[in-house]
């Protein structure tokens, strides 16, 4: 059902100016951009000739902040890059420092990191699910998603003390151990979430209006994903089973049995299905981790109070909810990092939007944008 304006794309391909265009300024305050993203759209009627994202409206220069505070002081900032998957982002930074300083992490801490990261992934996907449906004009799913997400936030709040910017991981482990009520609560949540996902399926996934809006819309090829460095559900929705948890396993992930959901369609529906299936897989991982949760300390014994990483550069990549998030720390053997580079998935995922949205209808392009699951502070940093 790709009803692109062939006459139009033909014109553009031939290098001729389209007949009559106008510029539509979508954002920085627009209901569909989920934050302060601006898209400068050159339109021919409702067809997009060129959609150029303009970023930087909430740029905070996180990388400069990293250069003028100690490693421990920069740690809280990592939760604030992508506020929806704060756990995984903290994990990447903590992992990079642990890798450089050769701090061993106790297994119990690694397991709890996996559990909390996966809970965080589900909560992030739930927000995306609700917001995506909001883009498509369905309001009710958002509230259902937030109802379920609230349960995750309650669980995480009980152990971390915060609901969004957790800052739970420390160099060498965790700041707190989990208690039995968390384990019990998480099990209850897993049991609660499975039927809810089935309900979501009936309410949205199989809905004919919804399917008609997504199937075949906004196809992104494998090649385009590779050229733009798109990762996460975007590349998995194009049929490439690239997942950092599998390709460059970190933490305790090699010890769990889970699948990397992949759908070959490359359209918005495939990306949608990837995320829905990922929630199922996350539940599986959480269940296994709870079963196998070892006893022991949650903090490494000898973590120096003042961290000085040996000179050199260190990378650590994790699979965040939106894709591959990588931290590169360049150290010159001082207390303060010489350079902190944050490679965020949303930036690469959005960079293909200009090419992918050519010749699309406005509502389809917004559905495509929604299916990329953008978090604007993640792009702007």
């Amino acid at each position: 059902m790709t009803e692109k304006a062939d006459f139009l794309t033909g014109d553009v391909a031939a290098g001729q100016p389209p007949r009559e265009t106008f510029v539509l300024n979508l954002g920085p305050q627009h209901p569909a951009t989920h934050g302060v993203l601006r898209v400068k759209m050159t339109m021919d009627g409702e067809y997009i000739v060129r959609a150029e994202p303009v970023c930087g409206y909430i740029h905070r220069m996180q990388e400069k902040m990293g250069e003028n505070r100690t490693y421990a002081q920069f740690l809280p900032n990592t939760s604030r890059i992508d506020y929806l998957s704060a756990m995984t982002y903290t994990h990447a930074f903590v992992g990079a420092v642990e890798r450089a300083a050769k701090i061993p992490v106790p297994p119990r801490a690694e397991y709890i990191r996996v559990i909390t990261s996966e809970l965080n992934r589900i909560s992030s996907h739930l927000v995306w699910w609700g917001a995506f449906l909001l883009d498509l004009g369905g309001f009710t799913p958002l509230l259902y998603a937030f109802d379920d997400r609230e349960k995750i936030l309650d669980l995480l709040e009980a152990i971390t003390g915060a609901r969004l910017t957790y800052c739970y991981y420390r160099f060498g482990g965790l700041c707190n151990d989990v208690d039995d009520s968390f384990i019990k609560g998480t099990r209850e949540f897993v049991a609660h979430m499975r039927p809810r996902l089935k309900m979501y399926r009936g309410l949205v996934t199989e809905n004919i209006i919804f399917r008609k809006r997504l199937e075949g819309i906004g196809p992104i090829s494998q090649e385009m994903c590779r050229k733009y460095g798109a990762t996460g559900p975007v590349i998995r929705g194009s049929g490439v089973s690239y997942d950092v948890r599998r390709v460059e396993p970190y933490s305790a992930y090699p010890e769990f049995d889970f699948e990397i959901p992949t759908f070959p369609g490359g359209d918005s529906m495939a990306r949608y299905l990837v995320r829905m299936e990922e929630m199922v897989q996350s539940l599986r991982i959480i269940e296994q981790a709870l079963d196998k949760l070892p006893a022991g300390p949650v903090m490494a014994d000898k973590v120096p109070r003042v961290l000085k990483l040996p000179a050199g550069d260190y990378c650590y990549a994790v699979e965040a909810a939106r894709g591959r998030f990588a931290v590169r720390i360049v150290s010159d053997n001082k207390e303060i990092p010489y350079r902190v580079k944050l490679r965020t998935p949303s930036l690469s995922n959005l960079s293909l939007f200009e090419e992918a949205s050519k010749g699309m209808l406005l509502p389809d392009a917004l559905a495509l944008m929604g299916s990329l699951d953008l978090v604007i502070p993640d792009i702007d940093r």
Partner: protein, 172 residues
């Protein structure tokens, strides 16, 4: 209707639509030795992944980055990110290109150094269109000029920004 789109099966779990072959294609992560890029004419240096977080690195001359990018593109690697490091004491700017492989556990770091007082380097956005934004960002932060880049206007910084905050001599 796009024929490639999987029908949502009625009761069977969604994973029925997955391609099992691709699932198997991902080898469990052991460092991919012998060097899978040994046939390229690039003097890669193997790095201990457990320490550094990447597998191969190479330092090339500034003029070679496009050629390296072209070769890595042919090998099926994807561009992870581009960034700079300001080595003020040495009067140099380092430009770091990160690549990753889509199927193998393989991360490649390509570095090059350019003089700090004339930070210019060729763009690789012709090879990887995704480099466009990364280069713009690097230009914002370090003032490195990417020659041949389609649009080097400020990306994350305000549109009238003339400063480059990640240079070590930057004072806010």
């Amino acid at each position: 209707m796009n024929p490639a789109v999987p029908e949502i099966p009625g009761d069977s779990p969604l994973k029925a639509a997955q391609a099992p072959a691709e699932q198997a294609a991902v080898t469990p992560a052991v460092a991919p030795w012998p060097n899978p890029l040994a046939h390229l004419q690039i003097p890669f240096r193997a790095v201990d992944y457990e320490v550094k977080g990447y597998h191969l690195e190479v330092t090339v001359a500034p003029g070679e980055v496009v050629a390296v990018a072209t070769q890595l593109d042919k090998e099926g690697l994807a561009l992870d990110t581009i960034t700079g490091v300001d080595w003020m004491a040495e009067g140099q700017m380092e430009v770091v290109y990160d690549y990753f492989h889509l199927a193998k556990p393989l991360r490649v770091v390509v570095r090059t150094r350019i003089p700090r007082d004339k930070p210019e380097i060729d763009t690789i956005s012709g090879v990887f269109p995704g480099a466009n934004w990364h280069e713009r960002e690097t230009h914002d932060f370090f003032g490195i000029k990417f020659l041949g880049h389609p649009d080097l206007t400020p990306f994350l910084l305000p549109e009238d920004a003339t400063y480059h905050p990640l240079r070590k001599d930057f004072v806010a």
